[in-house]
Point group: C2
Chain length 255, copies 2
Amino acid sequence: MPKEGECHKFQVLIACEGNIVRHSQIEAAWKGTAECRSCGIRDLVLFADLTEPDFKLVHLPIDELVFQSGSNLYDAGEDGWALFTVRAGLIKLVQYLPDGTQRIVRLLRRGAIAGLEVLVGSAYEHSAVVLQEAAVCRIPREVVDRLNRETPRLHRQLMQRWHQSLRQADEWLTELSTGSARERLARLFLQLAGDAPERPVRVFGREDLGAMLGITTETASRTVAEFKRNGLIAETMPNIVTCNLPALRKAAMIE
Amino acid sequence: MPKEGECHKFQVLIACEGNIVRHSQIEAAWKGTAECRSCGIRDLVLFADLTEPDFKLVHLPIDELVFQSGSNLYDAGEDGWALFTVRAGLIKLVQYLPDGTQRIVRLLRRGAIAGLEVLVGSAYEHSAVVLQEAAVCRIPREVVDRLNRETPRLHRQLMQRWHQSLRQADEWLTELSTGSARERLARLFLQLAGDAPERPVRVFGREDLGAMLGITTETASRTVAEFKRNGLIAETMPNIVTCNLPALRKAAMIE
DNA sequence: CGCACCCTTGAAATTACTCAAGTTCAGTGG
DNA sequence: CCACTGAACTTGAGTAATTTCAAGGGTGCG
């Protein structure tokens, strides 16, 4: 039995264009076996609607893990035996083109699920990379399969997760991959700010911005700089900004 | 009881930027009430795994309809009480930005489902427009809900539909919205050609091409013309082409 | 201190967009 | 039968946006 805080280290090789291009050491700290019944964010997660007897069907341990920023939960193509509920932090789902260019197809926050596709196929379809230190629960595929077979109370939640993912995918296509770089970036900030103008927003690395918006790192950098100059965003701390929603809406060509 | 071939006509108003911008007459020909048990493409559709007793739970009629090219199955924002299985033809799912620009987010072919989102929310999230005359089965939401509640044999198929949609969405983001117009168009042709180099491919209208690839009509036109000139595609009949897969792969930056 | 990494900026080259004609073609009506 | 029309497609030329390539900061860390 692993002890609290123990580190699982393993190596990952990412092949690209036939060569090994990255070589990273990944660390996930084990935080214990999750007690889903008493989960602090129970109402947000996949198991929200389960009842006491349903939990008896969970016959494999659900581990709670903490992944540090920069590490991967899994890589595209890897055989998937588990899915992950995000409890805290921020995770990007990355897809690679054969020529090595990468595109970020989704962002996962608290309550979202990474690796849903293992319920249908066997391999992960993206690489899940941690942007901000993330706490996750690792749920073996077998557990979800069994619950799904034996209780109807998981269906609704599962469908909602699929739906949320699909909605975000469509939204990214129409809002973050259409129009000029300026419009796209403005729309991204509006998404990040939500409807709270005061809430500070963390700006991603320029390379990640580019991979989300389908533009180059340089264009991302230039456009962010222009936004600061013209007051569409105000940098309070390094890479922490507050959004000027009306100005951003104008730049996004909304209204 | 409606008669075979009867037309249901109704008007649709699409509001955009506060004004009515389109005004279309939609026609759907009724082809009868579907007999799912003996469906010709049973193995492809949502009900593939249902057993004889399961069908007893279908208490509302499932109508088979034919929509002609250019008509809509439904519009974004409309209240959705049914989803549609595509039996034949081709349908595009379109999403509009507030400024009126449109983006095609998905293509639906035989076996795919339009309007899955009504199982989770109440409104359609896209407009479903027919590109090539389409035969569809209209399944009331209530039927799917009930089957989903009372038999486990629908779950797998439903999950697969969600998964397929999500896969296509991600694929479009990485392949059709990344890189130059030339690369995007080449990748689209490769998708359309599948692995059959000989199969003739119908080229969409230039405006639709633009809306799929996130480029303008003119750029789409120019790039198609260039592909013809340089032999990446060969036009056998108007807007019917055969693909030169190796050349396209080179243009797509694959290999 | 110096290296690594990321971000920024500049200038030239490329790509795509815009605006403005033409073209083709099918459908319509004289 | 043949102009006429509208819609979709094509093409050109100028302009704007983005990429590319290259170099120059800044910061943290060994």
